[in-house]
């Protein structure tokens, strides 16, 4: 019974000493890493994905018994049982580690072996339990796994969430049913702060359940941004409070909508996993579905001086357009708590604008000449200003920069065109704008075989530029566009292929050994399958 009281005890002196030694060993490990031997440290961590900054593991085994293990708060932690994010995470990770079965309390068949009975969590600064994660959230953590009490230390809850995932990956269940973990010391933090997955709910509707499942899998891979490309030409499933006709008329059907409650569920579920929800309302192109529920928002196209009955991009010349957008984005800014809104701006087809006499007239008045890029810039600038006025920041697709719009400083540019994307990165960062990389990570473009190696081998900073420019690369996103993807095939297409991107964005730059990655990723995918994510195989095996 003495063992059960550790929560209230201080670390015994011996353990403190061990902890101190651990730190020394970690430093040694770091030295080795610098000496270009990542293989050695990696081979000891066959279970970890993505690989931590440093992980030192000893051969010494600690035994866990499900009936006699719990997560708890350190007395010195700034977070306690009132921190819902942590309480929920404790319950989740207990189930991931031990399964959902009931275990007998104190099955003491490993009496003489070194036990691991508790993971004590300590948050050092204001824990941010009730906040939303942001681009600046601190996700670093230290994890010291030793018997009988392991410790997980982080500045904020976000680091604790990442550390819990790592902790769960260290625990191994033997075929005999015994759970063990190697004594370890892990120091970890992400390489890039923006690590996203883009889902597209317009080409095909994804049920909320599928989105939540995706958030689970994202947390297993330490992703922290769900880029929700919520509407597009094909359908408008977002149910707006201000403009309910948008989804009433623009969704595939009335059962193919996301109600305010659905959106809230997704945002909150994501928050509990340290994941930001970045909404994208792409305009002025990709908006065909908007026209059904909002009169006059789209440009009427003309055919030999008569309206042809078809519509093009958003009509940039009407005041009504901007008052509509301003109300809509005001709502979006409230419904989605993230600091960023994605404004799209990609693939605007100028043909319809060119055909419309009123648009041409407007162009002349504004002195845009024949440069429709200027018209698009004019439009984008207006929308960008709306977002700034709301004290939010904007993300746009790369065309908005290509078209030489006066971009508000601080606007983030997302690079998606694969052709010469490194050159593009150099240009945009040279102009001082932060960037997100997606170009090499369009996971909807499938091919036969082990295509994950291609995603894995991308080095985001492999372009000519100053250190300052490189710092402007805030991360990347794996995109799974929805033309051929719905709830039937989303999960196996995303995982474990997106995991490759997950490690590229989290782990150190020189974690690039494909053989080692293959071994770890194979185990990681089996772990995901065990946790209910239908992640497809990398290659033959079981």
């Amino acid at each position: 019974m003495e063992q059960r009281g550790f929560g209230r005890l201080r670390l015994p002196g011996l353990l403190a000493l061990l902890a101190a030694l651990g730190v020394l060993v970690v430093q040694a490990a770091l030295e080795r890493r610098k000496a270009q031997t990542p293989r050695i440290s990696a081979s000891r961590n066959q279970n970890l994905w993505p690989l931590p900054v440093s992980a030192m593991t000893t051969p010494r085994l600690l035994y866990l018994s499900p009936g006699n293990f719990f997560f708890g708060h350190s007395p010195s932690s700034k977070a306690g049982p009132s921190c819902a994010i942590l309480q929920e995470a404790f319950r989740r990770y207990y189930a991931y580690i031990f399964g959902f079965d009931k275990w007998p309390l104190d099955s003491d068949n490993v009496a003489r072996k070194m036990k691991l009975q508790k993971l004590e969590v300590s948050v050092i600064m204001d824990p941010e339990c009730d906040s939303f994660p942001s681009i600046t959230s601190d996700e670093s953590y230290n994890l010291l796994v030793q018997g009988p009490v392991a410790t997980l230390t982080a500045n904020r809850v976000w680091g604790v969430l990442r550390g819990l995932e790592t902790f769960s990956q260290l625990i191994y269940q033997h075929s005999s049913g015994t759970f063990t973990a190697n004594e370890s010391n892990i120091v970890d933090s992400p390489r890039f702060p923006h690590r996203g997955i883009l889902i597209d709910t317009s080409r095909h509707f994804l049920p909320v359940k599928t989105i939540l499942k995706t958030l689970d899998a994202m947390a297993f891979n330490k992703f922290n941004v769900l880029h929700w490309h919520i509407v597009d030409d094909q359908s408008f499933p977002y149910q707006s409070i201000t403009f309910p006709e948008l989804s009433n008329k623009g969704s595939y059907s009335l059962s193919h909508v996301y109600t305010p409650n659905d959106v809230h569920t997704v945002v909150e579920y994501a928050r509990f996993r340290g994941i930001r929800v970045l909404p994208e309302f792409d305009s002025p192109g990709h908006t065909a579905s908007w026209g059904k529920g909002q009169k006059d928002v789209l440009t009427p196209c003309y055919h030999s001086r008569e309206p042809s009955g078809t519509f093009g991009p958003i009509n940039p010349i009407l005041n009504s357009t901007y008052s509509f957008l301003s109300k809509l984005f005001k709502e979006i800014g409230t419904v989605f708590p993230d600091e960023f809104i994605h404004l799209g701006g990609d693939e605007v087809d100028f043909n319809c604008w060119k055909s419309n006499p009123a648009v041409l007239h407007f162009m002349r008045n504004k002195g845009f000449g024949k440069k429709f890029e200027k018209l698009q810039s004019f439009y984008m600038q207006k929308v960008l200003d709306m977002i700034s006025a709301m004290k939010k920041r904007s993300i746009v697709w790369q065309e908005v920069y290509d078209d030489e719009g006066k971009l508000t400083p601080g606007t983030v540019v997302q690079v998606w065109k694969k052709d010469k994307f490194h050159m593009k990165l150099r240009k945009i960062t040279a102009a001082g704008f932060p960037v997100i990389i997606s170009a090499p990570w369009y996971l909807d473009l499938i091919s036969y075989g082990e295509d994950w190696t291609g995603y894995y081998s991308v080095e985001p900073l492999n372009f000519a530029g100053t250190p300052k420019q490189k710092q402007l690369v805030i991360g990347g996103e794996a995109c799974i566009w929805g033309e051929y993807v719905d709830a039937t095939n989303l999960t196996p297409r995303l995982w474990p292929r997106a995991s490759a991107v997950g490690e590229r964005l989290w782990s150190h730059q020189d974690v690039t050994d494909l053989g080692d990655a293959y071994r770890r990723l194979t185990r990681h995918r089996c772990r995901m399958v065990g946790r209910g994510i239908a992640a497809q195989p990398l290659f033959t095996g079981y």
């Binding site: 095909h204 359940k209 595939y252 193919h256 051929y484 709830a487 497809q536 990398l538 079981y542």
Partner: protein
């Protein structure tokens, strides 16, 4: 009143237009009308005609009736129709099934007749078929004819269908060696095959990677050759279940035990079976194909295939014979000596022929026919004239179209798979290319064309397991199914797209995780469990 009737028939036309596109694969002959009959789930029955050779107690049809009742009406509670609706349409309260030839307990075979006619008019609602297998195909068609109004009422339109398959062998290959597929995945696949009128499950049971088939004569094969001898195996009971489940759906199980190559997983369980490879003058510790120089090999094969011949009731076995790598044989001094003794010179194809011929003789003696991959033909192995050659190579040694001509001009029956490797995924609507394949588009006489008995869609398992099998298979394999069932003239892509998109939504409704063809939606989307 006249005005309201007119409006009503316009509505009917709209509803009908939606429904007529729903058939997959498209029948040989169909005539439908806008006249519709109401079906009340609580009173509707499948019945045997008094003069039908199959009656209550016919396992194949009794179970099919139950299946299709569930598929059509589910377990939902049904309200009685609105009285106004009732006035306008007459009711059909049964589908009467008349089977001409008895035979409910047999297995389907290559020669099974699958013809049926479906007559739904004022006088009757009748499914007539030569055999129970034809009745199964007709039941599937009938289930696709029934549609539901937005108010929830079920209808079937006045329809005449006369249908039969274009090819008798319409197969789907699953590979359970590269990845183990749980029994439930296989059974679920058999269900969807039946929806698509496929009739052969080609079970590529074992390969280099693992040996999940539990042999009772050689239990060590599985014990040492499976991924996990406790969980990743097919027991005798599993195999029986697959065969019976398939039979009840009119599907043959064609078992493949591929030799002499693709056999690494056989080695640990049968010492001495595989050829030891040499590096210089010493065994390198690695193994190659089955060792064709030892008598023991043939004794083993003889016993093993006796078991296989008994376990799998189909007349045909698939003996593989593809991709034999000669390097290991070349390196082994005993094989070299054997070659010299037999006078094969340096021609290892002759050695391969020797092995295959001996094996074929063994299997023939058990009263079985066989299917082999095209290499056996390419390498000029002397085989019995009734051997079926499966063409799988797209380009090499010749284009598959040419290979079809070669195989049939040599008088052999041919199966086409080359353009239908569904595991080769690409971005976009790749079902179209699969759909547009014309199996008889090779130069040859009518007699040669008659030797093409069908084809198979193949889902090899290097990158496929139960996590992604279903969406990769469906509805893509449906494109192959229609090509093999429907008339050659049915090849319009727009017509196919409309029906296949509709059919995939029907698959979702039936609980099949079939992936989308393009943008859009289904009333009932797939829900994560």
């Amino acid at each position: 009143m006249a005005g309201s009737t007119l409006r009503f028939s316009l509505l009917l036309a709209a509803a009908f237009a939606g429904r007529a596109t729903a058939l997959w694969p498209w029948p040989q002959y169909i005539q439908t009308s806008e006249l519709r009959y109401t079906i009340f789930p609580h009173s509707f029955q499948f019945q045997y005609h008094l003069s039908s050779a199959a009656q209550v107690g016919c396992s194949v049809l009794d179970e099919a009736f139950q299946r299709y009742r569930d598929l059509l009406f589910g377990s939902a509670a049904f309200r009685f129709p609105h009285p106004i609706e009732k006035r306008h349409t007459s009711e059909k309260n049964s589908l009467v099934v008349l089977v001409v030839t008895p035979g409910c307990d047999q297995f389907p075979s290559l020669g099974s007749v699958e013809n049926y006619t479906l007559t739904i008019n004022d006088e009757q609602c009748l499914l007539l078929s030569e055999t129970v297998w034809g009745a199964l195909r007709g039941l599937e068609t009938f289930s696709q004819l029934i549609w539901r109004s937005p108010e929830g009422t079920f209808y079937v339109n006045k329809t005449d269908i006369e249908d039969f398959p274009r090819f008798p062998h319409r197969g789907l290959l699953l590979d359970t060696s590269r990845h183990y597929l749980p029994l439930s995945s296989i059974l679920d696949t058999l269900d969807v095959m039946a929806y698509n009128k496929f009739n052969v499950f080609h079970w590529h049971l074992v390969d280099d990677s693992s040996f999940p088939y539990e042999s009772f004569t050689f239990p060590d094969l599985t014990k040492k050759g499976s991924y996990n001898p406790a969980t990743h195996i097919y027991t005798a009971q599993d195999v029986k279940e697959v065969i019976e489940y398939a039979r009840l759906r009119g599907i043959r199980v064609l078992a493949e035990f591929d030799t002499p190559g693709h056999t690494l997983s056989w080695g640990p369980g049968v010492p001495g079976l595989l050829t030891p490879c040499y590096s210089g003058s010493h065994p390198s510790g690695t193994f190659g194909p089955v060792n064709p120089a030892l008598n023991n090999t043939y004794e083993f094969m003889s016993t093993f295939f006796l078991e296989i011949s008994t376990v799998f009731p189909d007349f045909y076995l698939h003996l593989g014979g593809d991709e034999v790598d000669f390097t290991c044989w070349k390196s082994n001094p005993d094989i070299q000596a054997f070659m010299k003794k037999k006078g094969f010179g340096d021609d290892f194809k002759k050695l391969e022929s020797f092995y295959i011929q001996t094996l074929l003789d063994i299997v023939s003696a058990y009263g079985k026919g066989y299917v082999v991959w095209q290499e056996v033909f390419d390498n000029k192995v002397k085989v019995r004239p009734d051997t079926i050659i499966q063409v799988w190579r797209e380009e090499i040694p010749v284009k598959y179209v040419k290979e079809m001509a070669l195989v049939t001009s040599a008088g052999f029956r041919a199966l086409l798979s080359a353009p239908w490797y569904l595991n080769h995924i690409t971005y976009g609507p790749d079902w179209k290319e699969i759909y547009l394949v014309e199996p008889l588009a090779f130069e040859g006489s009518p007699e040669q064309k008659a030797l093409v008995i069908g084809g198979e869609a193949c889902m090899w398992g290097e990158y496929v397991d139960s996590t992604n099998l279903v969406p990769r298979l469906w509805p893509k394999a449906g494109a192959v199914a229609e090509r093999l069932w429907s008339n050659k003239m049915v090849s319009n892509l727009d017509f196919a797209f409309k029906r296949l998109a509709h059919f995939r939504c029907e698959l979702l409704r039936r609980g099949v995780q079939a992936q989308p063809l393009s943008v859009g939606y289904c009333d009932m989307e797939f829900e994560q469990t």
